[in-house]
């Protein structure tokens, strides 16, 4: 069938669009692909103590399997991830509901509520390091003023993970709240009107209407936070550097130290690629979940 003038114009437009956008696409792909390919190549290299490199095959990956610090790092990463995610979703949804219903709250108050996540993580880490100092910090001062026992906070092998999770929640729950607030504001009012007519209580309305309709938004927030939480670094590096002992030594912290402090870039690359695979896996899993709960 001969091409019509309209089809020719369409094809030409498509070609023009491709030609105009390809430099940017190629550049972006190059910027992402090159570091990944180089890291994969590095992971098959062995580095001496003076930085001399040689091909090592899969030695770095077999070392990983038998490295107790790797398994410790994996455990710490997941423990911190699950605890932080649960707290951030809980407090994020609560804050979003508060901001949604308390419409009379002034802009300044709203801004204060959500300001922590605008702070650089390094600044947040340094601030909390001072607040949580067991001897000089305000936290223990408040506890002892109320007649409660002081805590070692970040210096306790038992409490360091919950403490870091709380710091991160303080900073990022407002971010989750903003995402969920956007979701709340887009919910159709007609279903709430119907629920009201049917005499549903506020709790039932939340449980049977708000929560299910918010699930796609919540899963989106989960995906965004998961990518950050599985790569936990800033707060830990500033406050504990993976200590006390290895109690807060996430995979990211461990890989960073192996590379930048011990010069073993090959093994560090293998560690980081393993972590990247875990993050990708989590994102893919949550994406599937998001598709399943979409309405």
């Amino acid at each position: 069938m001969p091409e019509t003038a309209a089809t020719l114009t369409e094809n030409r437009q498509r070609l023009e669009l491709t030609a105009l956008s390809s430099p940017a696409v190629l550049f972006t792909v190059g910027m992402i692909a090159f570091p990944v390919i180089y890291t994969i190549w590095l992971s098959f290299q062995s580095f001496s103590t003076t930085g001399q490199q040689s091909f090592a095959g899969v030695a770095n990956y077999t070392k990983l399997v038998s490295d107790s610090e790797f398994w410790n790092g994996l455990w710490v990463t997941f423990a911190l991830y699950i605890l932080s995610l649960a707290l951030q979703l809980f407090f994020g949804i609560w804050l979003a509901l508060l901001l949604f219903h308390a419409r009379r709250l002034s802009g300044i108050v709203r801004s204060l509520f959500i300001s922590p996540f605008m702070m650089p993580p390094v600044v947040a880490g340094m601030m909390w390091l001072v607040i949580l100092d067991p001897s000089l910090g305000a936290a223990n001062y408040l506890l002892t003023s109320l007649g409660l026992p002081p805590s070692d906070w970040l210096a306790s092998p038992t409490w360091v993970i919950p403490t870091v999770a709380l710091i991160d929640t303080w900073q990022w729950a407002p971010y989750v709240a903003l995402i969920v607030l956007g979701g709340l504001q887009s919910l159709p009012p007609s279903v709430y009107e119907a629920a009201q007519i049917d005499g549903a209580s506020p709790f039932k309305t939340f449980q049977r209407i708000t929560l299910p309709l918010l699930l796609p938004t919540i899963v989106t927030a989960t995906i965004l936070r998961s990518v950050d939480l599985l790569r936990f670094f800033d707060i830990i590096y500033i406050t504990t550097q993976g200590g006390p002992g290895n109690a807060s030594n996430t995979l990211n912290i461990y890989g960073f130290r192996v590379g930048f402090e011990f010069f073993n870039f090959g093994y560090a690359s293998a560690l980081m690629l393993t972590l990247t695979t875990i993050v990708f896996g989590a994102v893919l899993a949550f994406n599937r979940l998001r598709n399943a709960v979409a309405w």
């Binding site: 006390p244 002992g245 930048f260 402090e261 870039f265």
Partner: protein, 432 residues
Amino acid sequence: MRTKAFAAQIMLSVIAVGAASVVHAADFDWKKFQGKTVTFLANNNPVSAALLTHKADFEKLTGITLKVDGYQEQQMRQRLITVMNAHSDEVDVFMTLPSREGQQFAASGWYADLSPMTKSAVAGDYDYAGLSQALLKAATYDGKLTSMPMNIEGPVLYYRTDIFKKCGVDEPKTIADVEAAAKKIKACDSAITPFVSRGLKPALPYTFSNLLHNMGGSYMADGKSALCSPKDKAALDTYSRLLRDYGPPGVVNYSFPQISALYRAGRAAMDFESSNELRTVMEGGERLKDTKLIPFPAGDGGQVPTAIGWGMAVSAYSKQQDAAWYFVQWATSPAVQKLMAVQGIAPPRSAVANDPDYRKWIDEEPVRKEWQAALDVLAAKGSSEVGYPIVANPESREFVGQAVQDLILNQKTVDQACAEADKSLDALIAKK
């Protein structure tokens, strides 16, 4: 007549000396690299802070623009590693700790050889021979001089004379006395932390090494790790016990910023920390009159204080090593080191240490006299061994730090902690 001849002789001598000075001054052209920019990667510690207060003087003298890239110590090293692995010329001069990374960086070819520059391109008043020969030797690898010493430092014991008096404690003369004093102070005043020192894993080898050597221990014996030798075990036990039983809560996260803050706030009776912290500890003046300072007391091995120094190195990949050398030369000159000395940075030159202005500053406060006396001991008897004397020294400090932290946290016995550390360290020693 005789008087006239004598006067003429004197005048001729003066003219000759003056001419020689003119010739010397004329020989060295400080403005040779005017208009160039030298990038300095600095560690944000008291040493660089004191040096950089005079940055404008260098720029005025040479016409060189000094671009300073300052970071906390660990971040500085990470930046340096990134730059050097890329063979980049973006850093011309950097601060380095020969006792920690000297061997490793030298073997990696990161340092420019400064030996030729110290002979051919140096101002007449630089006084190379006046620098600490021990520190210069410590910075020389395979005949290459890798850095010029900026200071001399080591851990010293600051203690509160008023608290000691109140609790009836004498100045400790031995390590056992330190522990006895801590015990007495703990019973006397529960609001005061009797003893504070480094508990942060990568930082504690700095202070631990001093105690280890004083107790007669050593990191290696016959080419293997010796942490499970009787003296080393005793050192691990003593250091961890001092921090666990008499240290502040959360000491496992403590390095010099937290330690100095605690002592300056009046909350600690004994502070085993770097001599560089004098300025920080005395800030505000509260501790000026109630603090005394001594080298860490002797043990069974005598008194073997840790004595190290920061150095200034020129990058092997810098494209303007000659201009970079001008900055290094200026920063480590007698004049600048004298200016730094009166800011609490101990000079690696005996001439500066004996300079009348510096002595006047020292004599102003008793604690400064004690500080200088402690530094004299460090200079005379000091050991620069902090961590294992191997290329992978930085990594070795992790295992030493882990062993001590396991004991502070009561997670292992001494035998378990040292055995686990020895196993990892032997593997590290064997690694090429």
